[in-house]
């Protein structure tokens, strides 16, 4: 196996043993990028030179015996994280030339942990999408089938890990944007509790829903990255000063006697039969591992998509107001006056989906409509949160499909926003409730597309989630395949 195909913990063992160097690992990743990137198109901006320099510095540190949590490991970042001196586009024309003057908190943490940053990955524009098709920089292709989407919005980060174009990556999840592409690309993706990982430096889509999380090749790597990125940040008011446990300590503990909730509302018409079969199989696996599956009810499930498509666009309509052509980013030319500049800049700078959501959100907050839409949605959101609290009184974690279908064809849903919105039907609720969720590979379709299973737990139960996912991973023994690129 090439170095780029290994996990963080496997590479760390080799680095510690002196069997390889970060320079070799980084070279392997860059070589892989050279080989497959023209087909996958996972990256918007590659950071080749700085990655090589960082690898050299990591090797010096290793020689001095200073090995930190991610020393020398090549990691990719969704292009939604502000990186000092490195263009950060958020997949949008309006930020196509934006170079942040600062590093976001997670970027600082990765650097402090010794990571080698390989580049900035492709995404749906402003994270609005489930397929990475709304990116101004073109679509990323699913490494398992280049005619299909990788999921979204963090499609580039998921595809880069699946294609071995990095060892692990970070994404952001507002309604499923980590878990859904993780499922569609056959990797592990975790969305932590709202407030667990600092959002400072994460370009906001919907502030009350956005959360940062890792894409990794296995659950152990997920725990390693969570150890690095979690924790209270005084620069974020919604950050929670809750202790961060050592997530690796939850690996391999077993789930004997756990009660696993299976929400009856999540097995609906329209779910792909192969996905449903894989999930039924996953239920059998966790039972074999000693857990007991029980039916639970999340009665407000039907409202999740509706609530989400009011709350998220409303917040987005305000968050995206700063892109006005005045201070940074794209500005239209030949403007008659200020209003003309605003209109032309924003009309040409934003893509169709972003504009659609700004319009929806603006409408939902307008005087006369606020009570019927935004306020009502906020009230229903509280009920959705309560559903989970009541469910977790009866079970330790919840098991659901991650996505109702495997990866769909590029262009298949671009003309039908409602169909596109339904790809997040199982993931949105965790964002509305603020709880953590993880997607773990649980098999393949006959045509060889990956399928993911989602586990959900209560607030700040990432440790238990990792414990559960690790046990599942061990017992499921899903065949390790590599996309044929």
């Amino acid at each position: 196996m090439e170095l780029c195909g290994l996990t963080i913990h496997e590479l760390q063992d080799k680095l510690r043993a002196g069997e390889t160097t970060s320079a070799e690992i980084t070279a392997s990743v860059l070589k892989r990028i050279d080989a497959v990137e023209t087909e996958v198109r996972a990256y918007i901006t590659l950071m080749r030179e700085s990655a090589i320099e960082e690898a050299a510095r990591a090797d010096e540190a290793i020689l001095r015996g200073e090995i930190k949590a991610l020393t020398g490991i090549p990691i990719a970042l969704k292009d939604i994280f502000c990186t000092k001196g490195v263009r950060t586009t958020c997949g949008s024309r309006i930020l196509h030339n934006f170079v942040p003057p600062y590093d976001g908190t997670v970027v600082e943490k990765l650097r402090a942990a010794g990571a080698v940053i390989t580049g900035k990955t492709n995404m749906d524009e402003f994270a609005m999408g489930s397929s990475t098709e709304t990116s101004f920089f073109g679509v990323t292709r699913n490494p398992w089938d280049l005619t299909r989407i990788p999921g979204g919005s963090s499609g580039g980060s998921a595809a880069a890990v699946a294609a071995d174009e990095c060892i692990a990556s970070l994404g952001s999840d507002t309604g499923g944007s980590i878990r859904q592409p993780a499922a569609l690309c056959g990797v592990v993706g975790l969305k932590p509790t709202y407030g667990r990982v600092s959002r400072y430096g994460l370009i906001a889509f919907a502030s009350s829903l956005d959360q940062i999380g890792p894409f990794t090749k296995d659950v152990e790597d997920c725990a390693i990255l969570m150890n690095v990125i979690s924790g209270y940040d005084p620069r974020e008011s919604t950050s929670v000063p809750e202790d961060v446990p050592d997530y690796r300590a939850f690996l391999g503990r077993g789930i004997e006697g756990w009660r696993v909730g299976i929400p009856k509302e999540y097995f609906i018409d329209g779910i792909d039969p192969e996905v449903e079969a894989a999930i039924r199989e996953a239920i059998r696996v966790v039972e074999k591992a000693g857990a007991r599956c029980i039916e639970v009810s999340l009665p407000h499930t039907d409202y999740c998509v509706a609530v989400y498509y009011i709350v998220a666009p409303a917040e987005a309509s305000s968050n995206l107001a700063r892109y006005d052509g005045v201070k940074y980013g794209f500005r239209s030319e030949d403007n008659r006056d200020l209003l003309d500049m605003y209109k032309k800049t924003r009309s040409a700078g934003f893509g169709e989906e972003v504009k659609r959501r700004i319009m929806i959100g603006t409408y939902a907050l307008s005087s006369g409509y606020y009570d019927a839409y935004y306020r009502k949605a906020s009230q229903v959101r509280a009920l959705i949160k309560r559903d989970f609290e009541q469910a977790f009184a009866d079970c330790d974690c919840i098991l659901t499909p991650t996505s109702p279908t495997p990866a769909f064809k590029i262009g298949e849903k671009t003309d039908d926003p409602m169909q596109m919105y339904l790809s997040d039907i199982f993931t949105i609720s965790a964002n509305l409730a603020g709880i953590p969720g993880i997607s773990v590979p649980c098999g393949y379709t006959k045509s060889g597309l990956p399928i993911g299973v989602q586990f959900l737990a209560g607030h700040f139960q990432e440790g238990r989630l990792i414990q559960f996912a690790s046990a599942y991973e061990t017992h499921a023994k899903i065949e390790k395949r590599r996309p044929a690129l």
């Binding site: 994280f81 502000c82 950060t88 958020c90 930020l95 934006f98 942040p100 003057p101 600062y102 976001g104 959002r199 400072y200 430096g201 994460l202 370009i203 906001a204 919907a206 502030s207 009350s208 005084p234 620069r235 974020e236 008011s237 919604t238 409303a314 917040e315 309509s317 305000s318 995206l320 107001a321 700063r322 892109y323 006005d324 005045v326 201070k327 940074y328 200020l338 605003y342 603006t362 907050l365 307008s366 005087s367 606020y370 935004y374």
Partner: protein, 478 residues
């Protein structure tokens, strides 16, 4: 028809915190454009606000000083609109749940007292400034002011005239400055006022259609603008038309208000709770702690001065115009034990010198102890009141102690009766004609003798002693 004006004021006061409301940048006025900025107040992608606790405390001080109820929990909300001086495209303000409401202030009007209700006080961030190029069609944006903390103080529509509005504004200004939470500088924009004005036929209860007046940057302009607007609305109504609900700008030079935008053009600010900030929780212990830091407020101080120092209300008003002036006066009283004399000197010479030099009391070269010492020297007869005038002026110019000045100028008063009696008998002896006139009842010549004694002593004789001696000696009893 006779109309009654109904006026409510919205005041924005910049708070004197060292740093901005949601980031660590300095709030100092007058720096090079865009130097007091950081990613947060520049509205960069990905940044988040963190509330400066001092802002909450300053808001609480004003709330307590104006008898507001402080709510246990309040939220920040986003006020969405586009303008180049607003880098995020929204202002972080407070909307549905204000931190303080239902207050009042009391003021003296036409000898009586009147209460004006305070609807609410809330916290928000200031916007930046546009600097328009005079020669080219470009504008520059200075974001130093972006994120400077403000409190907005909204009054009830309790004000009934332009003069009353100005009086209310002065009271509010005075309280803010007393609390040391706002420098009150209207020209630099740290104290700004908008006015809502409507008219109704006198004796009726329903409110008329109101206009909102903006761009009034002095107390005088607020008064003038409201006076103008009352006349304008009365004219509109008398001519059978209706007042249009709109925002109007005061034009200082022309002395008129101009329509800026109508109700139809008004912004829909799409307020909603800011998801980047958590609710502000204010418990009783915090309120108590802030309450303990509140200084005595101007009105209370004024009343205490009248009561405690037995000085006229007018004097008390002058002496409490600022906290530092009141402190100065009280220190002079403490050291001299002479409240009335101290008030005469502070209100007279001291304030006159300062006004001439446009200086603040803090910068006064005469220390309270020096002034008290001078008062003591007058009291014990060392110098006369007339001499004291000369002494105080010299103290102000040189900053020296009164004793040193008296010595330098040789100003010590002659009070030795023996020495003066000798001098007086000599003068009586030399002026037999005038002495005879006086003894015949022509008391007018008494002044002549006083003048002669003063001349002989170079003006240093104690006038009281001269009076007494002259009377006795001219009467021939001695």
């Amino acid at each position: 028809m006779e109309y009654e004006p109904v006026i409510g004021l919205e005041v924005h006061a910049q708070l004197l915190t060292n740093t901005k409301i949601f980031c660590g940048c300095s709030t100092k006025f007058g720096a090079t454009p865009n130097t007091h900025t950081c990613p947060v107040c520049l509205g960069m992608p990905g940044v988040l606000p963190v509330l400066n606790k001092k802002v909450v405390e300053f808001m609480m001080k004003m709330a307590l000083a104006t008898h507001c109820t402080i709510n246990g929990e309040c939220n920040f909300a986003r006020k969405n609109y586009f303008y180049p001086d607003l880098p995020k495209g929204y202002q972080i303000s407070q909307y549905a749940s204000p931190p303080a409401e239902h207050g009042w202030i009391e003021m003296e009007i036409d000898g009586g007292k009147k209460r004006i209700g305070i609807t609410r006080i809330h916290m928000e961030e200031d916007a930046g400034k546009l600097l328009h190029d005079e020669h080219n069609p470009v504008s520059h944006v200075d974001l130093n002011r972006t994120g400077v903390p403000l409190i907005e103080i909204v009054s009830e529509p309790d004000i009934r005239g332009a003069e009353e509005a100005a009086a209310y504004l002065r009271r509010l200004h005075e309280i803010l400055v007393y609390l040391e939470i706002c420098d009150g500088n209207m020209e630099e924009g740290s104290f700004r006022c908008d006015a809502n004005v409507s008219l109704r036929p006198r004796g009726t209860e329903t409110f008329g259609t109101r206009t909102e007046l903006k761009n009034m940057n002095s107390f005088r302009n607020v008064q003038r603008a409201i006076e103008y607007e009352i006349k304008r609305q009365a004219y509109v109504l008398d001519s059978g038309s209706a007042v249009v609900q709109e925002t109007r700008l005061w034009d200082d030079t022309a002395g008129v208000t101009h329509s800026m935008r109508s109700k139809e053009e008004a912004h829909d600010y799409r307020y909603f709770p800011d998801p980047d900030l958590v609710p502000v929780v204010i418990d009783d212990a915090w309120i108590e702690a802030v309450l303990n830091t509140l200084p005595e407020l101007p009105l209370e101080k004024r009343e205490r001065f009248v009561r405690e120092y037995q000085i006229p209300a007018y004097d008390a008003g002058v002496l409490t115009a600022s906290r530092s002036l009141a402190d100065y006066y009280e220190e002079v009283v403490r050291l001299s034990g002479q409240p009335k004399i101290a008030s005469n000197w502070v209100m007279g010479d001291v304030l006159r010198f300062l006004n001439e030099d446009k200086k603040e009391i803090r910068a006064c070269p005469i220390a309270p102890a020096a002034l008290a010492e001078m008062i003591r020297l007058i009291q014990d007869g060392t110098i006369s009141g007339k001499m004291a005038k000369e002494v105080s002026e010299a103290m102000y110019r040189t900053g020296k102690a009164p004793g040193a000045i008296i010595e330098e100028k040789g100003l010590v008063q002659i009070t030795d009766e023996g020495a003066l009696a000798g001098m007086i008998s000599e003068i009586i002896g030399k002026n037999p004609a005038q002495t005879a006139q006086y003894r015949e009842g022509k008391e007018k010549v008494f002044g002549f003798f006083v003048g002669q004694v003063m001349k002989a002593t170079g003006g240093k004789a104690n006038p009281q002693v001269i009076n007494d001696l002259l009377k006795k000696m001219l009467a021939g009893t001695e």
